[in-house]
């Protein structure tokens, strides 16, 4: 507990017409609070227009003492009182000299909470802007893909191979696990329900159709949005904060050729293959659970039933979807990375945005494909 003699205290006394601020005790940040000076204390004192300090009983001090002195000096300045700081320790005088004589708290730079209509309008405008810049980026990327020969900003094959490895073989494990478990879950749910109707064999149809038409493509795309899309956004925004993107632009090297095209091309090449691989893994998952849970379904029967339910058209549909998902993930993550801020916090925000927007975009695009499938009767 702090001793009474240690407590930082102040009082103002009147010495033959001169105001003296007496300071005693330990003025350090070890205390619970810096004593506050009474605002306006000098305003109602008639006649006495000079102020000095008595620090003879002052013990240890640090910048909490300077903070208090500054407050007193500003109050005195407001009351137009002449101040003599001779009584203040010389080193404190040096620090006080660095501080501005007046400081009015500047209006906060922080934005006020926006009104609903304003927020809605800005949201729509921003969304349109993002869509516009993404489309433009896509167009530029497409054009850079047709750059005729070396020396005209063509994509480096080394970068493409590196991105292909990151987007493909490196993602095999997670795609395998997720799709295998997806097949297991579907088979389990299907087995429990279909057994009631003696339709055990149709578990294979359920797993096959659901995975080939929808789930393997969507789930693989979500994995890639989280894994690869987030990584692209973080990498590009880090390059932005390190001025690497600026350096590319100054040299006239197209950012689309150097960064965006390899990213999108690698995803376009790998995603359909991962989709096919994901379909196989989910069917294997379904096979394991079905043959384990339902004695009436044999291994050969399961595969026979699956190939009967799933035709080539279903695969083509899922395959096409995965290509569009790849383009969207690549474009969105690169667009977000290129438009991120330049601080470390912005890198995190860019990665998060890329994943969130990517996943929402995948679901929305899948809904769009579902409508198309209905219209063309697939």
């Amino acid at each position: 507990m702090q001793r009474e003699a240690d407590t930082p205290e102040w009082k103002v006394r009147n010495e033959s017409g001169q105001l003296v601020v007496e300071l005693t005790g330990h003025w350090t940040t070890d205390c619970l609070s810096i004593p506050s000076f009474t605002p306006g204390i000098f305003q109602n004192i008639p006649g006495n227009r000079s102020l000095s300090f008595d620090c003879t009983k002052l013990n240890d001090w640090d910048t909490s003492f300077i903070s208090f002195l500054w407050t007193v000096l500003r109050e005195a300045d407001n009351a137009q009182i002449k101040v003599d700081t001779q009584g203040v320790p010389p080193s404190a005088q040096r620090l006080i000299a660095l501080l501005p004589s007046q400081f009015h708290e500047a209006p906060s730079h922080r934005r006020k909470p926006p009104q609903v209509l304003h927020a809605l309008g800005s949201g729509v405008t921003k969304a349109l802007e993002v869509i516009g810049t993404t489309v433009l980026l896509g167009w530029d990327t497409l054009r850079s893909g047709f750059a005729p020969k070396r020396g005209q900003g063509r994509m480096r094959i080394r970068d493409l191979l590196s991105d292909i490895f990151d987007a493909g073989p490196s993602a095999l494990l997670i795609v395998s696990i997720v799709n295998f478990l997806l097949g297991c879950i579907l088979a389990f749910v299907g087995a429990v329900q279909l057994r009631k109707f003696a339709a055990d064999a149709y578990v294979a149809n359920l797993v096959g159709l659901a995975c080939v038409r929808e789930l393997s493509a969507v789930l693989t795309a979500i994995i890639m949005a989280g894994r690869t899309g987030g990584a692209y956004a973080a990498r590009i925004s880090t390059m932005l904060s390190n001025e690497e993107i600026d350096a590319l632009r100054v040299f006239g090297i197209p950012v689309t050729s150097y960064i965006v095209l390899p990213s999108i091309a690698s995803l376009m090449l790998m995603m359909p293959l991962l989709y096919l691989y994901g379909c196989l893994m989910s069917m294997i998952g379904g096979f394991v659970v079905t043959t384990g849970m339902l004695p009436s379904v044999t291994g050969i029967g399961y595969w026979h039933q699956t190939f009967g339910a799933v035709n080539l058209q279903q695969f083509e549909f899922g395959f096409t979807k995965s290509i569009f998902f790849a383009i969207m993930i690549g474009l969105i993550s690169c667009q977000i990375g290129l438009n991120a801020g330049r601080s470390a916090a912005d890198v995190g925000k860019a990665a998060t945005s890329a994943v969130v927007v990517g996943i929402v975009g995948i679901i929305a695009m899948d809904a769009f494909f579902a409508v198309i499938a209905m219209v063309i009767d697939i």
Binding site: S67, R94, L95, L98, P100, R342, S343, A344
Partner: protein, 278 residues
């Protein structure tokens, strides 16, 4: 922390930091060895040398970011690297560090950057912390930037904001890593004045890592010079002493801004020194 009434005459130099036979490296690879020096209380001590001579590595070791392979660092007689992490953490609260780029936390405003150490390590109420943040930023002339984010201010302002954060807890020792790097001459000179004023006002001991000669001549009381080849200390003394009286060719050339002797006229001793260092 200061004590009033202040003595009229400067106190006799007293070693606050002591570095003895320190050897720094990564794994089994030795980068620097045989480093010994004392830093007097209230003085400004410079670690000098050209680019890549190990100045920042030595600083990282002094502030607890790199454990030395051998040797001791003592702070007020207390062995810095002896004991558990909590011991070093307690000693680190007596340190303030200004990193080369400012190293401000980008997700916080400048005011929040300065306030965080006060919130973590003092029992002060919010109002007092706000007052102290204003004082620290006022001391470095950055009070108007209190609500700005690091991404919204210039490089020089980041340095000053970093300095305000470094003095947040009124440290006994301030470490500066290349404080003048990347600043224009006027801003650099102002920063030198600020460092001197803070030293005198706060009574802090300052260790400064720099190769900016004009700054070193202005502010440093004492220092060591690291060899660019072996990375070991080859001279001790104030920058002015080293400039005017040091016999070593490398030091003399560096302090007088002459083209490096190791590049133009090969230093005959360099090979031998490097051999000895292995």
């Amino acid at each position: 922390m200061n004590t009033a009434p202040l003595p009229t005459a400067a106190p006799a130099p007293e070693g606050l930091l002591s570095v003895r036979d320190v050897c720094i490296g990564y794994g089994t690879k030795i980068i620097q060895k045989d480093i010994s020096f004392d830093v007097a209380r209230g003085s400004i001590f410079a670690v000098m040398g050209g680019s890549g001579c190990g100045k920042s590595t030595l600083l990282r070791s002094m502030i607890g970011l790199l454990r030395p392979l051998e040797g001791t660092y003592t702070v007020d007689g207390d062995d810095y690297w002896h004991g558990p992490d909590s011991h070093r953490t307690a000693l680190n609260r007596r340190f303030g560090v200004l990193f080369q780029s400012g190293a401000l936390w980008s997700s916080m405003t400048i005011g929040e950057n300065v306030a965080l150490p006060l919130e973590m390590f003092t029992h002060l109420d919010r109002k007092s912390i706000r007052q102290l943040v204003e004082v620290k930023l006022g001391l470095v002339g950055m009070i108007d930037a209190i609500d700005l984010y690091p991404s919204e201010i210039s490089g020089g302002m980041k340095k000053r904001a970093g300095l305000a954060r470094a003095i947040a807890l009124d440290p006994d020792v301030l470490f500066f890593d290349e404080p003048s790097a990347g600043l224009d001459p006027i801003t650099s000179a102002r920063l030198d004045d600020l460092i001197l004023t803070l030293r005198d006002g706060l009574g802090a001991t300052i260790v400064i890592v720099s190769h900016e000669l004009s700054s070193l001549f202005n502010i440093a009381d004492n220092g060591i010079f690291l060899d660019p080849v072996t990375k070991h200390p080859i001279a001790h003394g104030s920058p002015r002493e080293l400039r005017d009286h040091c016999d070593n060719q490398t030091v003399h050339a560096f302090m007088n801004r002459q083209a490096s002797v190791t590049e133009i006229t090969p230093d005959k001793n360099a090979d031998q020194r490097q051999e000895n260092s292995k």
